[in-house]
Amino acid sequence: MDFAVSTHRLLMCAPDKYGLLYEINPWMKLEVQPDVALAATQWQELHRVLTQEVQAEVQLVDQADGAPDMVFTANAGLLSQGRVLLSRFRHPQRQVEVPYFRKWFEERGYDCLEPPEEVYFEGEGDALFAGEILLAGYLKRSDIRAHQWVAAELGVQVLSLELTDSRWYHLDTALFALSPNLIVCYPGAFDEYARLVLEGNFETIKVEEEEALQFACNSVVLGDTIVMPAGCPKLKSELESRDKTVYTVEMSEFLKCGGACKCLTLFLR
């Protein structure tokens, strides 16, 4: 297979067995169930924008029974040069996803690695590249010890960022990188050390809480194109003022489980 680095190859999982069956983050409320038909429509639109508008190559993994959150493929692992650093989910409800993702990767020739004993790691949900630097979130889901493992395996510099607010429980709910020097983030999701690290290393576009709650930061960056959840007009116009092409997709039914555009995609590298 071809392991050529491409930022335009993505893995997605159609929401055939999507649902809200448990509560493992503050967004999930069993009494507020997603409309699964509408979720399917929203996912199709995201898939259409990515494949037809942006012309990304999207591969699909089948959703398994009893793994309602498998649609959030970003949490399957972190990929680099044909290797997959697999996740170990903090919650048992999501641990069931790992063998399905692993099988998919292995069947396509990826070399799969497991995190060290007793270390939690939730894949690209908590690990995003800004150029050569890997920004990595911890405390809510991934352990900081996973960062040491990722750094050693990939030979990259990892900046560890503590997440302090359970509503932004993964790094990709509170931050994305536009370029090696420019990031978009919601500062309220981080502790003061992480904020200093971000400000010291990057130019930052700060998202306001109102839009951060609409998962403005859960956006997919494909070169100069950004695919983001609808309902975040301030960030959208900020990005457009920087000559970015922005597509918005309604994500209401995935927000009910605490996910949006980025959570629904994983970069295949």
Binding site: E23, I24, P26, M28, K29, E117, E118, L139, D143, I144, R145, H147, Q148, A151, A152, G155, V156, Q157, V158, L159, S160, L161, E162, S166, D191, Y193, A194, L196, V197, N201
Partner: protein, 406 residues
């Protein structure tokens, strides 16, 4: 001052993790010394620091180590040390005294979970073929030459995770108050009971005689009949007054219908005990038709396991009462295994006794009209207990209603 060395690896300078760990040590009353430091030569190289952490007490040190552990500062793992027990019922000098928290010990470079989590025990390690098994063992159960963990090196204790905000018990911080929305708390208890049921663990009920005196006996009886209790812990008094009610309609001689003292009512409880002793126990009394209602009757009919533990002031007692305290403890110890929730109502003695046996992961609610009862339970180490200061009749009525309506 106590001291422990930790190591911190990774991009700890660029991420400010080292600064954060040092700040955390200081702001939590500790001090530190960096005993070894190797800075990464390039941006992608990891740095390595060894830090000696000092704190005024072992508890302070543990809380600092737990805190900085979340930021990657780890204790180098050493295997535990063990010594043989010098005699039956005696731990070796310097034995590790357990908490009610999930515990693991390091043996041959791997973490072995300690089974039967219980506070104030020792950890005994046994070999099962090639496998080492560790479990909490109370003092009186240790046998001469058992291998017992000494010191705290190689012992890892996991604090109870903060409950998810969606958890029904999450709004019940571990504190005592009468200033709480009581109906909400009963609803939360019901939901917790349903969750425990769904996971196949046990619901343990611990009760005092005030349940009968206040007229709440029929409520508890109904809850048992509906199959909501797996294990009942009580003393001679609850069973006696319940049986007195069943046989005479009184509790401590007071007519539960009218509230008036019955003639010669003060003798009723002794006559009740005597009647049960005459037929050989509670089960024979139910089987012979002598006892046809009440809490104990419901337990026998529904197959609910019960332990009646005796105390020094007991009359009689009933033949089912275990008068040897250590034996009673052991009987309770066996029955709290797989408990998911413990509901303790109107008894300090049996609540504390049960709390002593429970892992901190068991949801524990203690209901008493006196805040002291709950405070005592928590002071004796059952920190996970949630206290509700209210009359037990109100609580059981609400509980029975909420369990019965769905």
């Amino acid at each position: 001052m106590v001291e422990e060395s930790v190591r911190l690896d990774g991009h700890i300078i660029d991420s400010l993790t080292l600064s954060k760990v040092m700040d955390l040590i200081l702001t939590h009353g500790g001090t530190y010394e960096i005993t070894n430091f190797q800075i990464g030569r390039t941006k992608t190289d990891a740095s390595h620091a060894e830090i000696s952490v000092r704190a005024p007490s072992q508890d302070d040190l543990e809380s600092i180590l737990h805190l900085i552990g979340q930021h990657g500062a780890v204790r180098p793992a050493h295997d535990v040390e063990m010594l043989p027990a010098p005699a039956d019922g005696v731990f070796p000098e310097g034995f590790y005294s357990t908490t009610n928290l999930e515990t693991a010990i390091r043996l041959s470079d791997r973490w072995v979970p300690v089974e039967r989590t219980e506070m104030d025990c020792g950890i005994v390690v046994r070999q099962d073929g090639a496998e080492s098994l560790a479990s909490c063992v109370p003092l009186h159960r240790v046998k001469q030459r058992d291998q017992v963990v000494v010191g705290d090196r190689g012992v890892r204790v996991t604090p109870v995770p903060r409950r998810d905000p969606s958890d029904v018990f999450s709004f019940m911080g571990s504190e005592v108050s009468s200033e709480r929305p009581k109906e909400l708390i009963v609803a939360a208890t019901v939901q917790a009971m349903r969750e425990v049921r769904a996971t196949g663990r046990k619901i343990v009920f611990v009760g005092g005689p005030a349940i009968v005196h206040t007229g709440a006996g029929p409520q508890l009886e109904a809850i048992i009949h509906r199959g909501w209790i797996d294990v009942l812990f009580a003393g001679n008094a609850l069973a006696t007054h319940d049986i007195e009610r069943a046989l005479y309609g009184t509790s401590l001689g007071v007519d539960l219908e009218t509230g008036a003292p019955a003639a010669h009512g003060h003798e009723h409880h002794l006559r009740a005990i005597n009647a049960i002793r005459a037929v050989g126990g509670i089960r024979p009394a139910v089987e012979s038709g002598l006892l046809s209602s009440g809490i104990m009757h419901a337990c026998v009919v529904k197959g609910v396991d019960f332990v009646l533990a005796g105390s020094i002031r007991d009359d009689g007692p009933l033949p089912d009462v275990i008068t040897d305290s250590v034996e009673a403890q052991d009987a309770m110890r066996e029955r709290v295994r797989d408990a998911g929730i413990a509901i303790m109502v109107a008894t300090t003695l049996h609540s504390v006794a049960t709390g002593n046996l429970l892992p901190a992961s068991v949801r524990t609610i203690c209901v008493d009209s006196d805040a002291d009862s709950v405070i005592k339970l928590m002071d004796r180490g059952t920190h996970q207990a949630f206290g509700l200061v209210t009359d037990c009749e109100f609580f059981l009525k609400e509980l029975a209603g909420k369990l019965g309506t769905t």
